[in-house]
């Protein structure tokens, strides 16, 4: 990590650069699957994404479910209850809650797995055409074979628009030059066509003859979809033909624009790159859930206290009643039936044992103090919230036709607490749609946009993306009388048209005379450059593996591509060696200015170099991406020398990558500077507004980009991240020492500024701009890291430029380690994966750069600006709902447990419950579960409009206002009070009366259920018909359940509810319990809302009171977010 180039490589790249050794290789005999698979070491092509089989489902699923500690707790309790001495509940009742939860989860898992099974079966039974040779006869034909029966070594033929059944090396295609086009949409999300080649050597041989006559040695299966190393050995030839990533088509991609392609399977089934990349995202846990565990611990404490109290008191009771128990009719200590036994007592083992038993029984009776149903409720609620986020029309991106995606289902509520956003730039803030804007050619600046016009005149070729042209340049180019400047300008455009890997696709346009050309390629910059060249009359019309055809101002010319050094992130440039029509051999290089100025011979045209440097600076200061283009004519000897070196390097078995790099570096020198191009990286829609909103919500936005400092700053200005009144602190060092110095300077500057303006009104906003080099030094040393943190946290904006993927993760970690602030990372490319996985919440932009970011993310969406509704609206709601639901669940179960506890005090501490065991089991599952789930999915404290209008309201989540210890204590006190009301009002009324326990139990059951539901009702903010149905329906359902339970003659409480409902006292008590129970909560709510209102309360009132006003004057301000 000391060197820049070392750190800029990410994991997958370093894997591809590992060289192929013999011990790593797998040998595939082409067309001879039987011998290839002799040693049974290669996977078959059947895939299996399903987790379970019918036989393993039960044990495996249960095993996975019991990874949750809570389930183990409930299992332990259910087991305890099976001991005869401790049997509090009947068998059925004791196992039911756990069984219910397990069953629901198991059914969900089984359904998902069944769908996977179905998909697997469909996939495995697809048909592929496999070459089958008749031994000896030499005749061969393609036989339809099921995918699962395809083996490594098989030769498979794939037709257009089909997908190869496995990863295969191309042998031949319908194209005579061996080109095949593939779309890798399913693999990495890129919709552009990629070119793949069959090797010349295999193209010329008939496929049937290849069978058995060739061996491919390739690297072990790995998940890098952009890397492949192998070589092909033909029997009659001694040399090995090298194979690379461009010779392989992968399972999961589609063959396009090619009639057929034939290949040999090298990786099959689970060893294919697509399947290896199928690993799920790491699971994250939400902040709320972590906090919840703290409160669960408190509740366990309360539970233990209650149980110990009961156990101790029962011990005291047994001791004081010790002499009476033998004859007391209700105890009957002696067992007269078995009086000959050693222990002549019936179910009595001495006081000590009884205390232990009572303790354990108390745990069983009070078990729902730890709310089991909460876990399943939370899952359901998150599912519901995800449903609404996915269905939100405002999170739908029409341009990429993508909905919001919830990939992780357990951190929805974290979206409401984000304090720090780390954003990638390219593709996230910007569209990654490049537009050619201006150029500096031979030292002349053509950047005046006012002079640019659409192309005029009839051209035979029209690029799909129209480019405006500068008329002066146009004239210069058209003017055949070759001035020096005109010559260089033409050469510049030839360079743009040749020095790339773009594939032209000719489409039929609306005008039959004009052909539309769609330029497909992996780099959007190149697309923009080639389109620009085309607009100026240098139209790339054809590309094969050996040559390209360029329509130069109406005249088709053939350029031989003699060599190509692909772009890599170390060199930061690419080059081609072109055999021009005039028989000269030219080397064109294009690359980033930093890498190009090192290889340019400045003595050739010093004025041009100087001017270009100036232009480059001005381009990047307006936010343009710049590329520098250079050329050199090669002499015959130079070319031959290069050709030999190139051939040697490209067939080398060991260190091929490095050899090729050094060959490239050798030839790329003494370049003549042709000019530079400026490409505009357009901002995504609504980015400045979104950033403004996020800032108002007090969310810090950090931008991490691979771009250079000037570009990053200019983008910072254009998206309103940076403003003119900001003081910029720039840390941009080349050595450890200078880095330390600038950090110290920055710290003293921060301190000075802060001490000058203690009054926060006149505070100077600060921006920190730091580059990747400095970060390398900083992350070396914890002390410097600490200093950086101190500076960064004092700044309003942080811009990191030239950062490598792993550094992005390092920056996220810097904040995550030192603060409890919730971090969110958003990005679109493979280089953002590490950052997305590191942050608390990772968001992928499903845009242009591929799918890796989306695959690694927790949520994925189409546009950066969706962050605003996602965080400010959905995040706020999710957090508020989930926080309330957890607290409510604690409260609701605690209330019930306390009611049980008070009764235990009047039963000789023997843990009898007046409430029937079925009611206590159903309490948290049926009686009170549905309303909290419904409310947690549907309730909205504020409307979308208000939340977007006042982004500051987001602070509620950041300050943890909806779930904290204070609220927990408040709600537990409320729970104790309500349980007292529920228990003691009927108790005092029925004291010394003929009331039976079943009737009293029913009254208690109903009053607890009604009370907790009314408590919920009082806290509901937005009543829809569904909320009404859930809350009142749940009370009715409870009533029905109680009636049903009391209609079973076999139960002791038979008919009690009918009897007790017939008395006036019952109704009078029910009313009294509800009123007495609710008074404190109601009064506290009234006081809190009126005298110490929080922002949300005020906003609610504004919403309510201004409702009619806004109907007549709808807000226009929010239209960017309100519409999609």
């Amino acid at each position: 990590m000391a060197e820049d180039h070392g750190s800029s490589r990410n994991m997958s790249m370093s894997m591809s650069q590992k060289e192929l050794g013999d011990e790593d290789a797998r040998a595939v005999r082409v067309g001879d699957a039987a011998r290839t698979n002799e040693r049974l070491e290669f996977a078959g092509n059947a895939v299996r994404t399903a987790k379970y089989s019918p036989f393993t489902f039960l044990p495996r699923n249960l095993f996975e479910q019991f990874h949750r500690l809570a389930y183990v707790y409930f299992l332990a309790i259910a087991v305890l209850n099976q001991l005869p001495q401790l049997a509090v509940f009947g068998r059925g009742a004791s196992v039911m809650p756990l069984a219910f939860v397990l069953t629901v989860t198991a059914v969900k898992d089984a359904y998902e797995d069944w769908r996977r099974h179905r998909a697997d079966r469909a996939e495995n039974n697809r048909l592929a055409a496999v070459l089958s040779t008749v031994p000896g006869a030499g005749a061969a034909e393609y036989v339809p074979t099921k995918w699962k029966d395809v083996r490594v070594g098989d030769i498979v033929r794939v037709a257009a628009n089909e997908s190869p059944p496995a990863d295969m090396v191309l042998l031949a295609t319908s194209d005579t030059t061996g080109v095949a086009y593939v779309q890798t949409l399913n693999l990495d999300g890129e919709s552009n066509l990629k070119t793949r080649y069959a090797k010349q050597e295999t193209l010329t041989t008939r496929v049937e003859h290849l069978a058995g006559a060739a061996v491919i040695r390739c690297e072990r299966p790995n998940r890098n979809i952009y890397g492949f190393q192998a070589n092909l050995e033909l029997q009659e030839e001694s040399r090995r033909i090298p194979l690379g990533p461009s010779n392989i088509v992968l399972r999961g991609c589609d063959l396009k624009n090619t009639a057929w392609a034939v290949g040999v399977v090298v990786y099959a089934g689970r060893e294919t790159k697509a399947m290896l990349n199928n690993a799920g995202t790491p699971t994250k846990r939400s902040r709320l859930e972590t906090h919840m565990n703290r409160e669960t611990l408190f509740l366990s404490g309360i539970l233990i206290v209650l149980c110990s109290l009961v156990a101790a008191l029962s011990g005291v009771w047994l001791r004081t009643h010790a002499t009476q128990l033998e004859l007391a009719q209700f105890f009957h200590k002696k067992d007269y039936l078995n009086s000959d036994k050693e222990n002549s007592n019936y179910n009595y083992y001495g006081i000590a044992a009884q205390i232990v038993f009572n303790f354990l029984m108390a745990v069983i009776v009070f078990q729902i103090m730890i709310p089991i149903s909460l876990y399943i409720s939370m899952e359901l609620v998150r599912l519901g919230q995800a449903y609404f986020m996915i269905r939100d029309a405002r999170l739908y991106d029409a341009s990429s036709d993508s909905r919001f995606q919830c990939r992780a289902l357990n951190i929805n509520e974290d979206l409401g607490q984000v304090k720090c956003i780390f954003s990638d730039k390219t593709g996230t803030l910007t569209q990654n749609k490049m537009e050619f804007r201006c150029a500096s050619i031979d030292g002349v600046d053509y950047s005046d946009i006012t002079r640019q016009r659409p192309v005029e005149g009839d051209l035979a070729w029209v690029p799909k993306v129209p480019v405006n042209v500068d008329r002066e340049v146009m004239a210069l180019v058209r003017n055949v009388g070759a001035t020096e400047q005109g010559r260089y300008t033409r050469e510049f455009f030839i360079a743009l048209a040749t020095c790339n890997t773009i594939v032209p696709l000719i489409l039929d346009g609306p005008d039959p005379k004009k052909k539309v050309i769609d330029y497909q390629g992996e780099s959007p910059d190149e697309q923009a450059l080639v389109s620009a060249a085309a607009a100026y009359g240098f139209v790339l019309v054809e590309r094969t593996s050996g040559h390209i055809v360029i329509d130069v101002l109406g005249e088709k010319q053939r350029f031989d591509v003699l060599g190509l050094h692909e772009f890599d992130s170390d060199r930061k440039r690419m080059s081609v060696i072109i055999g021009c029509p005039d028989k000269t051999v030219k080397l064109f290089v294009k690359g980033a200015d930093s890498s190009m100025f090192g290889i340019i011979d400045k003595t050739l045209n010093p004025d041009v170099v100087q001017a270009t440097e100036k232009h480059l600076h001005s381009y990047s200061s307006v936010g343009l991406r710049t590329l520098v283009i250079g050329v050199r004519e090669l002499t015959q000897t130079e070319f031959l020398e290069w050709q030999m070196a190139y051939e040697r390097a490209s067939t080398a078995l060991l260190g091929r990558g490095n050899l090729l790099r050094s060959v490239a570096a050798n030839i790329e020198r003494n370049m003549r500077l042709l000019g530079a191009s400026g490409i505009e990286d357009k901002l995504q829609d609504g980015v400045p507004e979104a950033i403004e909103k996020l800032r108002q919500a007090e969310i810090k936005v950090w931008v991490l980009t691979g771009d250079k400092q000037e570009t990053a700053i200019s983008i910072g200005y254009s998206c309103k991240l940076l403003t003119q009144d900001m003081t910029q602190i720039v840390i941009n060092s080349n050595s450890r020492e200078s880095c330390r110095r600038s950090l110290d300077d920055a710290i003293s500057m921060v301190h000075k500024l802060r001490s000058l303006s203690t009054d926060s009104q006149s505070r100077v906003p600060l921006a920190l701009i730091i580059d990747g080099n400095s970060l390398v030094y900083i992350f070396d040393d914890t002390e410097r890291e600490e200093k950086l943190f101190e500076v960064a946290i004092a700044c309003d904006v942080v811009l990191c430029c030239r950062v490598a993927p792993l550094q992005k993760a390092g920056i996220v970690d810097l904040i995550k380690k030192r603060t409890s602030d919730m971090t969110l990372a958003i990005g679109d490319g493979a280089n953002d994966v590490s950052m997305i996985q590191m942050a608390d919440v990772g968001i992928g932009i499903s845009g242009q750069e591929g799918r890796q970011a989306v695959m690694a993310s927790d949520f994925a969406m189409g546009q950066f600006r969706f962050l605003v509704p996602l965080l400010l609206v959905h995040g706020h709601w999710n957090y508020q709902r989930m926080g309330y639901m957890i607290l409510y669940n604690f409260y609701r179960n605690a209330t019930f447990v306390f009611v049980l506890f008070w009764y235990v005090l009047y039963t000789g501490f023997t843990l009898t419950t007046a409430i029937t065991e079925w009611s206590s089991v159903l309490y948290s599952v049926i009686y009170t579960a549905v309303p909290t789930i419904v409310v947690a999915i549907l309730d909205k404290d504020l409307s979308r409009r208000t939340l977007l209008k006042y982004p500051q309201l987001y602070g509620a989540g950041q300050r943890e206002e909806n779930y904290n210890l204070r609220l927990f204590i408040y709600i537990m006190m409320d729970s104790v009070w309500q349980s007292l009301a529920v228990f003691f009002i009927p108790y005092l009324a029925y004291r010394k009366s003929a009331i039976d326990s079943a009737s009293l139990g029913d009254l208690w059951t109903l009053s607890v259920v009604i009370l907790v539901n009314i408590h919920l009702a009082m806290d509901v903010i937005r009543w829809t018909w569904i909320t009404h149905a859930a809350i009142w329906g749940s009370i009715v359902a409870t009533w029905i359940c109680v009636i049903v339970i009391d209609s079973i003659p076999i139960l002791p409480g038979f008919w009690a509810i009918y009897k007790v409902m017939g008395t006036g006292l019952f109704w009078a008590l029910l009313l009294a319990v509800i009123v007495v129970g609710m008074i404190p909560h109601f009064a506290a709510k009234a006081i809190r809302e009126h005298f110490i209102p929080n922002d949300i309360q005020i906003a609610r009132e504004m919403e309510k009171l201004k409702h009619s006003h806004e109907l007549t004057h709808p807000e226009v301000q929010m239209s960017t977010f309100a519409q999609s």
Partner: protein
């Protein structure tokens, strides 16, 4: 609307007549509905001062009269309570009450005199009250088998009836279990002067119990034959459904101090009437220090004589009216304009960011 029109126009042709519909089918654009966009019509009540005060006031206005009425009703109930467990022990055995109750040779007859404090309208309910008798003790409540009681074929079902499950030789007890075994067996005979006040013991139990829980064709067997006698013996010629004392007893009480209905007297009693009660003091509460009381009581719609409900309603009602005034006062002293954006935290302290 859109799609129905399209269906109408493209009647003859194929489905591609409506490009908009086709596009909608292909796109992943979420379909708009008020539900999915979370815009269902909703009522958003807020606790305005008006609401708070009216709720408190309303509750107060309802609760106070109800409290007064129930207090008056409770005051109307006349109740005579006589504790007799101590008084019925002969003077020479007060030190050895247990010996007294266990000695079968000592007559348990006892006479008590009650004075009617106030006019009592019929029906007069006769209860016995036990104190400190844990009919809700876990050992006790579990010790029964309801299946056995309602089906003579299931006489052998004595699970969970321990320790009174079978006789020593293994025959099933019907009714089994501690509850039945401990059946209360004191009896009372009431006289006013020479007039015998008949106690109607019919219908003292729940009809539902007689009809569905205790069967007409199940007779007691092997009952109270064990080593320890818990309480009453049952006439094995009378079916369980007619053993109303047993049925009442087996409706176990919720609390350790409880009353059970003994019978009803359908005679009006006058103030200062003297009633002599001849009772058989059979039931052993001396072993655990329990008290036995005889209760004569009239009844109202609210049940027995219990002031609690009336007081509770009065206090709660009064408190609510007090709170209504207190809140009014608070709202007047510290008024706040609802929905005033000046109260938003960032407007209150504009420099607070």
């Amino acid at each position: 609307m859109d799609s129905s029109n399209a269906a109408g126009t493209s009647n003859g042709g194929s489905g591609d007549g409506d490009p908009a519909a086709a596009a909608r089918r292909n796109t992943k654009m979420p379909k708009y509905s008020k539900f999915t966009q979370q815009e269902l019509p909703a009522c958003k009540p807020i606790l305005t001062p008006k609401w708070v005060v009216s709720v408190f006031f309303l509750v107060g206005v309802i609760f106070v009269p109800v409290g007064v009425v129930s207090l008056l009703a409770a005051r109307d109930v006349v109740e005579i309570i006589d504790r007799y467990d101590d008084a019925c022990v002969p003077v020479n055995m007060t030190d050895n009450k247990l010996g007294y109750i266990q000695n079968e040779t000592i007559s348990k007859e006892c006479t008590r005199t009650l004075t009617v404090t106030k006019d009592m309208k019929q029906p007069i309910f006769v209860y016995y009250q036990l104190d400190n008798f844990y009919q809700n003790h876990r050992r006790y409540v579990k010790s029964r088998n309801d299946a056995q009681l309602r089906d003579y074929k299931k006489a052998n079902q004595t699970t969970s009836c321990e320790p009174e499950r079978t006789t020593a030789d293994g025959k099933p007890i019907v009714p089994c279990g501690l509850i039945a075994w401990s059946l209360f067996n004191d009896t009372y005979i009431f006289n006013r002067g020479n007039e015998n006040l008949t106690v109607d013991k019919k219908d003292i139990s729940w009809k539902s119990d007689r009809e569905h829980k205790f069967a007409k064709n199940v007779y007691p067997s092997n009952f109270q034959n064990g080593g320890l006698i818990g309480g009453a013996k049952l006439d094995s010629s009378i079916p369980l459904s007619d053993q109303e004392d047993l049925i009442v007893w087996m409706r176990t009480a919720a609390l350790p101090t409880f009353r059970k209905l003994y019978g009803r007297i359908y005679v009006d009693l006058k103030e200062n009437d003297t009633i002599t009660v001849k009772l058989d003091n059979n039931y052993n509460t001396y072993s655990f220090g329990g008290k036995k009381k005889l209760v004569l009581s009239t009844a109202t719609w609210l049940g027995g004589k219990n002031d609690f409900l009336g007081f509770a309603y009065l206090i709660v009602g009064g408190l609510c009216i007090f709170l209504a005034f207190a809140f009014t006062l608070l709202y007047v002293i510290k008024p706040r304009k609802l929905g005033d954006h000046n109260y938003l935290s960032w407007n209150r302290h504009p420099a607070g960011r």
